[in-house]
Symmetry: C2
Subunit: 210 residues, 2 copies
């Protein structure tokens, strides 16, 4: 889709720009400048300019800034919000169920199509119309539905064996919500989101201020 | 608790070290070296050494490495896993309910004590023994239970007004799971975790490889 490469840090910044730009748009503000964004995000104008230059399809005019609506479009395009990817949820517990029910993913171009669980009582059921399968169906579902991403919400003790199954079944990316470290082939992108550790880091920052 | 300051990037790395060290510990491996960690996390030995030096209460011996169990203890201490903080959940929908039910927070020293919702049908009920209150009770609960962190899972459209209420009620930190940009006073730590954007970034990285 694009030849441009963003650093991981840049990739992490675009969702924040996007949220702020949408807020401006809702308020009827139609132009935004790099100094303004730099002020809001507490970073250098140079960084904002580089970030926007990488994703913008049209160039900004010095002095008058960039169109808010066009920037929203360009960031969403760049992040792939308009090129749908299919995802599955591994582990249909509380968090897994929340992900199957959450309707915010579709806006980001992520279609969660099915859940997988080892509990026989859950198999054959569905959550918001999304079927729950046994992991023996993994390869079949991934191939049939062209699934790219697996959202792993199983307990830490089962996470590595689930990652092994996903790897064998041909998954391309894993978003790991378990607090376990996963060993997988380099060809699979892994993103670790340890919610408890995230909150601990936040509480640490509060502690630092005290 | 500690006089040492970590950069944000460092803070984000400790949970990853922790997950890997726990895996080593489970396998009965009792020593770890900086070169070994650098290899696993694809970074420089220098960086690992700096990271460990900042949090370790005992120094490692050149050649023999550091004790895995001691490092686990030191990282958990540093992140505040052993100094409990209280948290509340704003918005008891699917994700909010998952957070009230999730038992992984307590290990990280986060005690989720209550939920808040605007739906009158939910008030007076509880999830896993955690009561659900109206936001009119916010200040009272935050003060009575010494709550530090609010986990915000309300829809984007309500997030700013909830943040304003939290700010008035004296919250110290907000973990924002809504895709909205929040304007709050600088005295409040805000961490944005946009799950849909997180998955979009992951899918973008896959796209880049194709």
């Amino acid at each position: 889709m694009t030849e441009k490469k963003a650093t991981l840090r840049q990739l992490e910044r675009y969702p924040n720009y996007l949220a702020y730009l949408k807020k401006l748009d809702q308020r009827g503000i139609d132009k935004v400048s790099s100094p303004m964004l730099a002020g809001v995000f507490n970073c250098s104008e140079e960084q904002v300019r580089k970030d926007l230059h990488l994703i913008a399809k049209r160039s900004g005019k010095p002095g008058s800034g960039r169109s808010v609506k066009e920037l929203i479009e360009d960031i969403e395009d760049f992040l792939g919000y308009n090129s749908e990817k299919r995802a599955i949820v591994m582990g249909v517990g509380n968090l897994g169920t929340a992900f199957l029910r959450y309707n915010g993913f579709i806006k980001a171009g992520i279609d969660v199509v099915a859940g997988f669980d080892s509990d026989p009582k859950k198999l054959g059921k569905s959550v918001e119309g999304k079927p729950i399968y046994a992991s023996s169906e993994l390869k079949k579902v991934i191939e049939a539905k062209d699934v790219t991403i697996a959202i792993v919400t199983v307990p830490a003790g089962s996470a590595q064996s689930v990652a092994d199954e996903l790897s064998e079944a041909g998954i391309k990316a894993i978003c790991n919500f378990s607090p376990a470290h996963l060993n997988v082939d380099d060809s699979i992108e892994v993103l670790n989101v340890d919610l408890a550790a995230t909150l601990a880091v936040l509480s640490h920052k509060v502690k630092d201020r005290e």
